[in-house]
Amino acid sequence: MNKQKGRMGFIIACLSPAVILFTIFMVIPTINVFRMSLYKWGGFSNNKTFVGLSNFKILFKDDNFYRSFQNTILLIVIVTIVTLALALIFAGIITRIKVKGQDFFRVIFYIPNILSIVVIAAIFSAIYDPTNGMLNSILGIFREKDADILLWLGDQKIVIFSIAIALIWQAIGYYMVMYMASMASIPESLYESAGLEGAGEVQQFFSITLPLIWTNIRTTLTFFIISTINLSFLLVSTLTNGGPDGATEVFLSYMYRQAYTNSSYGYGMAIGVVVFLFSFALAATVNFVTKREPIEF
């Protein structure tokens, strides 16, 4: 009996700090996001009025929200497709084909993933700088002297693609390492027998490598959705601050602007709820659509 008591005491002592911290700083704020979305609540004054779903009604008529919606979807689509393709190709090359300096490439490609988003923003504002930037000074070599210079961060039509490039630059290495890990577990014998039957490297890639790491690719699709929503927010708030004129406003940057900068907490949280549900629904849909019988080896 006494031993039983000691066991329970030990469990409580070990678990309670984690549970308390987790509850205060994660569970309660999460509940608050949903609760606050039902209130009209502005500024530091405590006058909250319960307004039900009216925040959401305003939201669905808000043009700025639709704009951030468009931008986010565009970024998710571009970043996912390009990063997925490049990361798969590079991972396939590095694991399958005997290239010199494999380790060197792996180490270098992963570097952007360890940099702070602030550093990435600073690097890309140096790259995109209209007069002294790295990109325009290279392009300047190929162009006539008085042609218009491209404003990578100033032109409303280009800027969202500039953001996408920065996001892709940041993400390739991470996903490449991830795919390399699962490609390494495919048995060599499969490739050998395919090689004997005359399948080339490219054909092997599509008929052996891709089907066998399909589960892994599916998991990363969810990562792509979630991390693009999050990282685009961080990059936009550091690099362009939503500008020029709202051309790079994304989901969470709009939420943050409404809630923190604009102090319309209730409205901001309503955006948060919609984005949260949307990302969940999108991830579930993608997961469902890409479902295949798992192939064993």
Partner: protein
């Protein structure tokens, strides 16, 4: 015969193409980073000439200016305090919890496991404003009782929040290690008369060392680089390095004092780069185990 020759040259062309692709990507990563390092030792006048020119000499004054005039020294100290304190709290809280959740069956153990797993889906970007409001309100209460609030603009509270938001991932990673240890180790320890706490501290923790190192690595990077919580919760002079640098970057657009800016960037990047080069194998392996991204 002829066919074979064609194959060889096609193969070689393929190889060349592969190298070009790999090297292009590598260059696109190395050049911007090297560029920042070079710019950090350039004099201000050099920024107005060709951006690709090499620095004329090592102008170390940029770093001194960054430390003294741009207050990077203070910011760096704040970053060091927050990061180390957050790691300390995180390990102190997460290790026992992960151990108990992985190895003990008790009423509610399933519930707690599910709860922390669910926490993996909560992203900090969504809850940063509610956390801020919670601290504002708590500060108001404290003010009415003690006359002053201390929860906002406090690096210790910031560290506590970093640690709390990292709990789900850390507990998940650590308990997935703890479940793999055979039961015999604990049974033997109990037979020898070792108590619960001693068994945990002296037998289980040392075995978990590789996982603990992985946890420290990942969380060091995320705490050191963190931007949005720090921006929201530290509204006054005390700032962490990324936020301080961001502010410098915005001010620089008007004042155009690039040297300090790039010196500051080097200060942020250098610790993570050094750590990465030392442990890159571990980091990329750990990633395929834990596989999660913020």
């Amino acid at each position: 015969m002829r066919q074979k020759k064609d194959n060889v040259s096609a193969d070689q062309l393929f190889k060349v193409f592969i190298y070009v692709a790999l090297i292009t990507l590598a260059i696109s990563i190395i050049i911007p980073i090297a560029w920042v390092f070079m710019a950090s030792i350039k004099q201000n006048s050099e920024f107005y000439s060709n951006p690709w020119s090499l620095p004329k000499g090592i102008y170390f004054q940029n770093f001194i200016d960054a430390f003294q005039r741009a207050k990077m020294g203070n910011y760096m100290l704040n970053s060091v305090i927050t990061t180390s304190l957050a790691l300390f709290i995180l390990l102190g809280v997460a290790l026992p919890a992960a151990y108990v959740l992985a190895r003990y069956q008790f009423r509610g153990s399933k519930l707690f496991n599910t709860m922390f797993m669910g926490g993996l889906f909560i992203n900090v970007n969504y809850i940063v404003v509610p956390i801020f409001l919670m601290l504002v309100n708590a500060d108001k209460c404290l003010k009415s009782v003690f006359g002053s609030g201390f929860l906002l603009n406090n690096v210790f509270i910031l560290a506590l929040i970093y640690a709390s938001t990292a709990l789900p991932f850390t507990i998940y990673l650590l308990s997935s290690f703890f479940v793999t240890i055979p039961k015999e180790y604990e049974e033997a320890a109990f037979v020898d008369g070792s108590g619960y706490f001693r068994t945990m501290l002296c037998i289980m923790m040392p075995m978990a060392k590789p996982s603990i190192i992985t946890v420290i690595l990942f969380n060091f990077l995320s705490f050191w680089n963190e931007y949005i919580i720090s921006l929201t919760l530290l509204t006054k002079d005390a700032k962490t390095l990324p936020v301080g640098l961001m502010q410098l970057m915005k001010a620089q657009q008007a004042a155009a004092n690039y040297g300090q800016l790039y010196a500051g960037l080097v200060l942020i990047m250098l610790p993570t780069l050094i750590l990465y080069i030392m442990v890159q194998k571990k980091l990329t392996q750990g990633m395929s185990l834990g596989g999660l991204k913020g």
